[in-house]
Symmetry: C2
Subunit: 202 residues, 2 copies
């Protein structure tokens, strides 16, 4: 019923996160119907990303240059280092526009179930980076562990706190609590009890 070319396109589109076989077909048809406006530009955008993308050797962010634009930006505070799981978390923090330090992308979290050990993550390069910075005139002073509030994320955070305890730096983590706009009635017990424990004087 479909030509091979359309079948291949649907197969590839269906694999995108958020799309499945049905929405993959819809997306393919949309692209085909508006082929001059969308299909060609999308293909070209993909190819130019493919040609340009690099992993930053310093922080493991994805960018078109290495070191990445965040690591190269002289306006960013070198004394603050934020450790995240994935590039998507770095993007999420950047969108808040409230962090002006630098990042370190671990590339995942420790997981006994999936067999992810410290060697699989960018932990050695994190320690190396801190050690090197301590020898310079602008040492890293604080490491913010911004991992997901999942079991694996918290295990990894504990592991990192241990590994970082030997350096003369402050180690902090993101605050847990009631999300903005969150209703207490709908909040899980764990978050609510953490929010109670970490209550702040007004």
């Amino acid at each position: 019923m479909f030509s091979l070319e359309i079948q291949t396109l649907i197969k590839h589109l269906s694999k995108l996160p958020g799309l499945g076989p049905r929405s993959g077909r819809r997306a393919a048809l949309y692209l085909i119907k508006k082929r001059s406006e969308f299909l060609k530009p999308l293909a070209e955008a993909l190819l130019s990303v493919h040609a340009a993308i690099k992993t930053c050797t310093l922080c493991h962010n994805l960018d078109t240059k290495d070191p990445c634009s965040l690591c190269e930006d002289p306006k960013r505070d070198t004394s603050l280092l934020c450790v995240v799981e994935e590039v998507s978390d770095l993007w999420a923090i950047e969108r808040t526009d409230s962090f002006k330090g630098r990042y370190h992308v671990l590339g995942g979290v420790l997981s006994a179930l999936d067999g992810i050990t410290p060697e699989d993550l960018m932990i050695a390069s994190l320690l190396k980076r801190i050690e090197n910075s301590l020898k310079t005139e602008q040492p890293i002073q604080e490491v913010i562990i911004a991992l997901n509030a999942t079991l694996e994320g918290q295990t990894t955070a504990h592991y990192l706190m241990d590994a970082l305890s030997k350096y003369p730096i402050t180690v902090s983590r993101l605050a847990h609590g009631v999300p903005m706009g969150g209703e207490l009635d709908y909040l899980d017990e764990g978050t609510l009890s953490l929010a109670l424990k970490s209550r702040r004087p007004l």
Copy 2:
């Protein structure tokens, strides 16, 4: 925060039906992280569809040849013609594997609100196609109007029934009724009353 290439890719992905800014970012990151497996193949699939895709001059289906593979298939019944709004509807009927005739894609429905008149749709070419077939030895004998059960779809169906009444052919439409697995309690009144009116003896 993003390089221009990644921004452009996210912008294009966000426009796909089913994706928005957030899922567009997720899709972009997914493609970038698995760039050898997915990014290049997707770009190539898009380009090969772009190079190969044609609109069938006979039925207005999208395919890589013209006339399309459905119009060219000698095993399909030339006496049955199914009129649909969009190529996606043709795909939906083909997936049922229960129709072995040919198709005619209108390219939309009449809509006073959007200013869509009969001249904007492939109605003239439908009438021409029927007239031509009546002169051959394998004339079209039945036209099945398979338009969506929306207001515009039904308006267009009425318009087509009028236009087709002058030909010695049967004009039919899809049955309305309770969908498979549908619970009466959750069904809208219109469908339920139509299902009652069109009840069939057991």
